[in-house]
């Protein structure tokens, strides 16, 4: 199949012309996406430059590495310092904890390894039966089923440190927050394509009806995003507060039932803090007691005292769509991918890193 069709320049230009025409008699429109890959597409293809001045796309809390808390990084560091092998995805390595990062302690000789998939971590545990292996498991609904599947079928010496989080509760937090609603109100959401592959359309529908907010589920090609914007403008104009699935080639109404079943079997939802956010109700996934032997927090006594160190980093405003990266005084001056001050400059899905990489974002 030729996915190049979804990058067709002529169609993109026509879509942009239609967006411009449609928005002429509209006030300011703020569209939020909640996915680092959407931010990458938008910045890489210069989609903001195709939009009229009164239509903006801001990025929300859609970068899993960025919303992982200092405490969770500290927990992984604590385990590694106890002589346990800690595995995680590459982007997590440089994220600062209260006192250094996993990369720092790796440099000191502790056993921290980067894996591409949790299956690599399981293999490591199988090949080293005398070692304890803990996977620092981050990610949203897209990644959590792989952790669930691994937990169900893993050796005794493997456990997961679950830092998985759920997207719809974070969207609801933003819709409920009086400050954000008054200063940075969101008029429509571009919903994350691959989170939606798992959860389907239904979880967003109640948000649309309760908060009168239109949403479009979109894929990651430039045309997916442009048509998402176009559709949202039409919906805003028509006061159509529903959810449109613009990514039916992989998103089904019920999502992926097999993945949802495994998720539910292994995890229960709990209230958790997100970096830059307070506690968000029912937004985290904890491993159920039946699988306690594969839950690093139940298997080991982890004791950390985490401080949110004040660095001047504005990630918390970036993750709420309140400011753009270049509005942070540290952007490109004190904070660069080589010397990141905050996680949004560490992760390939972080808005600051993406803005740095593609130079301009509007």
């Amino acid at each position: 199949m030729n996915t190049g069709d979804f990058r067709n320049r002529m169609l993109a230009q026509k879509a942009s012309a239609k967006i411009n025409q449609l928005s002429q008699d509209m006030g300011n429109v703020r569209i939020m996406h909640v996915c680092g890959t959407h931010e990458d597409t938008i910045s890489r293809f210069g989609i903001r430059s195709l939009l009229p001045d009164n239509v903006e796309i801001v990025s929300g809390p859609g970068c899993p590495v960025c919303v992982t808390t200092t405490k969770e990084v500290d927990e992984a560091i604590f385990l590694a310092k106890k002589g346990i092998t800690v595995t995680t995805f590459g982007d997590m390595l440089k994220v600062p904890g209260s006192n250094g990062s996993l990369a720092d302690i790796k440099a000191q000789g502790y056993d921290v390894r980067v894996v591409y998939s949790i299956t690599d971590s399981i293999k490591l545990a199988e090949n080293n039966p005398s070692r304890e292996v803990v996977h620092l498991a981050i990610g949203f609904e897209t990644t959590a089923p792989s952790t669930a599947s691994a937990v169900m079928d893993s050796p005794k010496n493997f456990s997961a440190l679950s830092c998985h989080r759920l997207i719809p509760p974070a969207m609801e937090f933003l819709l409920n927050d009086a400050g954000i609603q008054s200063s940075a109100k969101v008029d429509g959401f571009i919903d994350p394509g691959h989170v939606s592959v798992i959860i389907g359309v239904e979880p967003y529908e109640s948000l649309s009806s309760r908060y009168k907010i239109p949403q479009v589920i979109s894929g990651f090609e430039p045309l997916d995003v442009l048509f998402g914007v176009l559709r949202l403008l039409e919906m805003i104009k028509d006061a159509d507060y529903s959810v449109v699935n613009n990514y039916p080639r992989v998103v089904k109404y019920n999502g992926n039932p097999k993945a949802k079943h495994i998720l539910n079997e292994v995890f229960e939802t709990i209230d958790v803090k997100w970096r830059g956010f307070p506690l968000i109700p029912k937004s985290g996934l904890e491993i159920r007691d039946e699988f306690a032997c594969h839950d690093a927090r139940k298997k080991f006594v982890i004791s950390v005292e985490s401080d949110e160190v004040s660095t001047g980093c504005r990630c918390s405003d970036i993750l709420k769509g309140i400011i753009y990266p270049m509005e942070c005084p540290l952007f490109k001056t004190k904070c660069t991918p080589e010397n990141p001050v905050g996680p949004c400059m560490v992760s390939s899905e972080g808005a600051c890193m993406i803005a740095y990489k593609y130079k301009k974002i509007i």
């Binding site: 979804f6 169609l11 591409y116 990610g139 599947s149 990651f220 990514y247 039916p248 998103v251 993945a259």
Partner: protein
């Protein structure tokens, strides 16, 4: 990061499959899908998470093209 481009399933051995991702062969887990050899799958963190529906993919493009042609007609 999400991989937007689908991978083609080349062979399946139990819960593992070999897929072609843009010309590179990769091994992925099939625990979360019921895909067959020849299907295109979306892969995330080493797991296939969905089979891509080619008919739906073509349908979206057709629909978008129609929407824009219609726009031209209106302008004429």
């Amino acid at each position: 990061m999400c991989l937007a481009v689908p991978s083609k399933v080349l062979e399946i051995n139990g819960k593992e499959a070999v897929v072609d991702f843009g010309g590179v062969k990769r091994s992925v887990r099939m625990d979360l899908v019921d895909s067959k050899v020849g299907d295109y799958v979306i892969v995330h963190a080493g797991y296939a998470i969905q089979t891509m529906d080619e008919e739906d993919a073509m349908e979206s493009l057709r629909y978008w093209k129609e929407l824009l042609e219609c726009q031209d007609d209106l302008e004429e």
